[in-house]
């Protein structure tokens, strides 16, 4: 009896969900399927927004390409062998996949597969390279996996930072995570195929963003070189605006101030300081990251929201008012508290 009641309750709680998930498969119905979401929105950490923010924080992490996910999923679902297992098919097929991925990574940077060591990410790569004292080339970090390029000849000796089963020629012990490594290989192959297309497009979007903001605001400075620069990173300082306040006001745009490594502190990014950015300008910096999946509409929306917020903050700023009246801020002697 009790189980019957329970089953009915479970069915009841499940039944409204089943049709929505099926319905969302057909696009025609998807638009009308969830009227509830539109009004509810999201409320988190005291912030209320009507929808998921548009994502422009590609230097923190970026969405996984569906083609990459498609390559990874079989190794999560059915091909779960340990690539270091030598006694059965599960191990063999995983090992083969890891070696294919190693070749894909090597191919992208014109190296030999023998020169690629899989790690857990950029931090581990840096630790092996720097603590092992050697010439190194850091490759990319991505979602919990990394690859280190280690020149074969002349040979380099490194001290392993992780000891254990002697995987990755003893340089990085620990089971190689097949699905992640397969994903990294697929991402590298895709990057090679799409590099020209992506680069053109990301550059176009970056220019659109910079021009769109500069057309409507003065006192906007690009941090870092404008020529020797990865187009997908636009780090801007907005004079007379406090970066944290600007970020707080940009709820519908997911961006970071300065470097993600220092997002826990209110100190200006040490990277910007090292680039020679003045302390006051470093405090007003925002990093916009543009990627493969960013759209023109998102850029336009980000411009609009950023410009509105900067204008609003400047209107409230006594400093900006003084500058407009022609007072040189740097000449002011501020009294000590």
């Amino acid at each position: 009896m009790a189980s019957k009641v329970l089953a009915a309750a479970v069915r009841r709680s499940l039944s409204p969900r089943i049709p929505t998930s099926i319905r969302s498969l057909s696009t025609a119905a998807a638009a009308v399927a969830e009227p509830f979401d539109e009004t509810a929105g999201i409320s988190m950490k005291g912030v209320k927004i009507s929808g998921r923010p548009l994502y422009l924080d590609m230097q923190a992490t970026s969405p996984v390409d569906p083609r990459v996910l498609d390559a990874m999923l079989p190794y999560f679902v059915s091909r779960y062998g340990n690539p270091h297992s030598r006694t059965h098919l599960y191990g063999w097929e995983s090992d083969e996949a890891v070696e294919v991925a190693r070749a894909q990574v090597a191919n992208l940077i014109n190296a030999s597969p023998k020169e690629i060591v899989f790690t857990s990410g950029a931090t581990e790569c840096n630790n092996i390279s720097v603590k092992g004292v050697m010439h190194f080339y850091k490759e990319k970090k991505k979602h919990g996996v990394g690859a280190l390029y280690m020149r074969r000849r002349p040979r380099i000796r490194v001290e392993p930072q992780m000891n254990g089963g002697g995987q990755e020629r003893g340089i990085r012990s620990g089971t190689v995570p097949t699905p992640l490594v397969v994903g990294m290989g697929a991402a590298c192959e895709l990057a090679m195929k799409e590099m020209e297309y992506d680069e053109k497009r990301v550059t176009k979007l970056k220019d659109r963003m910079l021009n769109g903001i500069r057309d409507r605001l003065d006192g906007v400075v690009v941090n870092g070189s404008t020529e020797s620069r990865y187009a997908g990173n636009l780090n801007l300082s907005f004079a007379y605006v406090e970066g944290e306040s600007l970020l707080m006001g940009l709820k519908e745009v997911a961006v970071s101030s300065g470097s993600a490594c220092t997002s826990a502190s209110l100190e200006p990014s040490y990277v910007l300081r090292a680039l020679g950015v003045d302390e006051d300008m470093a405090h007003t910096s925002i990093r916009f990251g543009i990627g493969r999946f960013t759209t023109e509409e998102e850029i336009d929306k980000a411009i609009e929201l950023t410009v509105n917020q900067v204008e609003k903050l400047r209107e409230m700023s006594p400093l900006y008012e003084m500058v407009k009246e022609g007072i040189d801020i740097k000449s002011i002697q501020w009294s000590q508290h």
Partner: protein, 92 residues
């Protein structure tokens, strides 16, 4: 060249193009949907000038495998679609 794949017909190419656009619309994720649409259109435009039958056949085979990926992933994405939509999908 006994193994050479015969080049696809015009109808087959147009049908592949339409299928790819249709699979793009199936994506619940705003960014993936827009990308799939855009990349499909741009690829077909870029390949318009192909004249060599073997490169046409290769591009067609590649497109067909991309379609399979898109169809599978549209299902995966829909299974884990967040309840709240992207602000880009909410019309003011």
């Amino acid at each position: 060249m006994a193994t050479a794949v015969p080049p696809p017909t015009r109808t087959e190419i147009i049908s592949l193009f339409r299928s790819l656009l249709r699979s793009a619309r199936e994506f619940s994720d705003y960014n993936i949907r827009e990308y799939t649409k855009r990349r499909t259109i741009d690829s077909f435009r870029d390949n318009k000038t192909l004249s060599d039958p073997s490169s046409i056949a290769a591009a067609f085979t590649d497109g067909k495998s991309q379609l399979q990926v898109a169809k599978r992933q549209a299902v995966v994405y829909s299974l884990y679609a967040p309840k709240v939509k992207s602000i880009m999908d909410i019309k003011p």
